[in-house]
């Protein structure tokens, strides 16, 4: 690979507050198998989270953002100059999710607001932009949120894993932060592994093509590009979080990059909540921050189909200890769990034709 330059803001930037949200309902993968494969075949995860009838990307993003604000403490809402929500399931085709979230958290009217779209990388794309917005001095604080209520064609491989959840990050000055952004690097190509055309209910994907040329190629190059440029190695990181569409992919990519199962275990939530798409790696990071200690280094690598990865290197500060318990931990949401059957799932996902 040619020599790469990492992304680094002029002014040091960090995470001032973070928050997660996972809906209450769970669809066991066995239920999908019962309905669609006669109960045969291996399932990619144990169960996935399912949104309630009154939940969507707006409500999920909002609760995650409120948790981030609770952790951040006394932040002047007028100083939040961007509210950016990445998702592939915005409730409106035209009308921003982010204006609703910004209004509800009191960040309006002197703020940027926009919805980001890059499959499962939309959240970290917004995160990178927020780091730049704060790091350039244009904003004191900026919100980057990944949230989704992901769709899957009934019976498809993705029906087992397409889930709902959100993670919100309030970026701000490094000296107010609970984790500082050391550097980041993004790796993007035009790779058609997964897509959804306009007005289609369900996405399409390239089956096995979603693996090597897509997920593995982009995550590996983003992670290696960042670590080579920074001069870091896997053993320098206490934790690593990778995009998690199923259990197998993140475990495999971690092993190939030289990370141990122990380094990825705290942020590997997919077995219990599924693939939360734009929130997937970002919600893994919330679970890591829930248990990280000052001085820990964390490597986060997202993946979005289409395709690309953002690799971000973070260092946790002393502020983590007093802020962590100002909001519910991600495990508190995962522990709140009501299993449902496939028929109830179909109702909650509005798959029945009512008129």
């Amino acid at each position: 690979m040619s020599e790469v330059e990492v992304l680094k803001p002029d002014r040091p930037v960090g995470i001032v507050g973070y928050g997660a949200y996972v809906p209450r309902y769970r669809l066991p993968a066995e239920e999908v198998a019962r309905v669609w494969s006669g109960g045969h075949g291996r399932t990619p995860i144990t169960e996935k989270s399912v949104p309630g009838l009154d939940e969507d990307t707006v409500t999920i993003a909002l609760e995650a953002a409120r948790n981030a604000l609770a952790r951040a403490g006394d932040v002047d809402r007028a100083q939040i100059r961007a509210v950016w929500v990445g998702s592939e399931s915005h409730p409106y085709a035209v009308k921003p999710t982010s204006t609703i979230v910004a209004e509800a958290i009191g960040a309006t009217p002197a703020t940027q607001a926009g919805d980001w779209e890059f499959a499962c990388k939309a959240g970290t794309e917004a995160f990178q932009a927020a780091v730049g917005f704060v790091g350039s001095g244009m904003a004191r604080y900026a919100f980057a949120i990944g949230a989704d209520t992901a769709q899957a064609r009934p019976g498809d491989a993705l029906d087992y894993t397409a889930a709902a959840g959100g993670a919100a990050y309030l970026l701000g000055p490094a000296d107010e932060s609970l984790a500082v952004i050391e550097a980041s690097y993004s790796y993007v190509t035009d790779t058609p592994d997964f897509w959804r055309r306009a007005h289609q209910h369900y996405p399409s994907h390239g089956g096995r093509f979603t693996g090597q040329p897509a997920y593995f190629h982009h995550i590996t190059n983003a992670a290696r590009g960042l670590m080579e440029a920074m001069g870091t190695r896997p053993e320098d990181y206490t934790y690593a979080v990778f995009h998690q569409p199923n259990l197998k992919f993140p475990r495999t990519v971690a092993r190939r990059l030289g990370f141990t199962p122990e380094q990825i275990a705290p942020g590997l939530l997919v077995d219990r909540i599924g693939n939360t798409y734009a929130a997937s790696s970002l919600i893994g990071l919330t679970a890591v921050l829930d248990q990280a200690r000052p001085g820990d280094r964390i490597l986060l690598v997202s993946f979005g189909s289409g395709a690309g990865s953002d690799a971000i290197s973070l260092r946790v500060t002393d502020a983590i200890d007093e802020r962590r318990d100002r909001a519910p931990r991600t495990e508190d949401y995962i522990a709140r769990r009501k299993p449902i059957d496939y028929a109830t799932y179909a109702r909650q996902r509005r798959l029945y034709v009512m008129k």
Partner: protein, 135 residues
């Protein structure tokens, strides 16, 4: 509800924003610009914490128009910790789990949607206080 009406109520619906009476100190929700206790003008915004408890409740099996897709659902009178009583749906709870005195917290959820083409209205509902392992 008209577009303008929905828009006008967004702060009270998204944030539980009511008013405080500068004369007698009463906290008012929903906002009505006149203090129900002392009848003085009251226009100073006050954002409620969202914490409260169930004062009474009922489960709706035959919903009014616009709420058919949500039935059955439970509606409660919630006594906010600051005093006012609010009528709202409960969410993320099974009807048989609801009890008078149950601590609840405000969340923002979809209240209604005008079919597939109209606007989506968001507002407050209440859920059982999330059980936390620490903090």
């Amino acid at each position: 509800m008209t577009l303008a009406g929905t828009w006008r109520l967004r702060h009270q619906r998204y944030q539980l924003q009511g008013e405080v009476c500068e004369k007698c100190g009463s906290l008012i929700f929903p906002p009505r610009d006149v203090c129900p206790e002392c009848e003085a003008p009251a226009k100073t915004p006050y954002t409620f914490s969202g914490r409260g408890e169930v004062y009474s409740y009922t489960t709706v099996y035959h919903p009014p128009a616009g709420f058919e897709e949500d039935a059955p659902y439970t509606v409660a009178l919630v006594r906010l910790e600051e005093g006012p009583m609010v009528t709202a749906q409960l969410t993320d709870v099974d009807a048989e789990q609801v009890e008078i005195g149950m601590p609840v917290e405000m969340v923002t959820r979809r209240i209604s949607a005008e079919g597939e083409e109209g606007i989506i209205t968001y507002g407050y509902k209440f859920r059982p206080v999330l059980r936390r392992t620490r903090g």
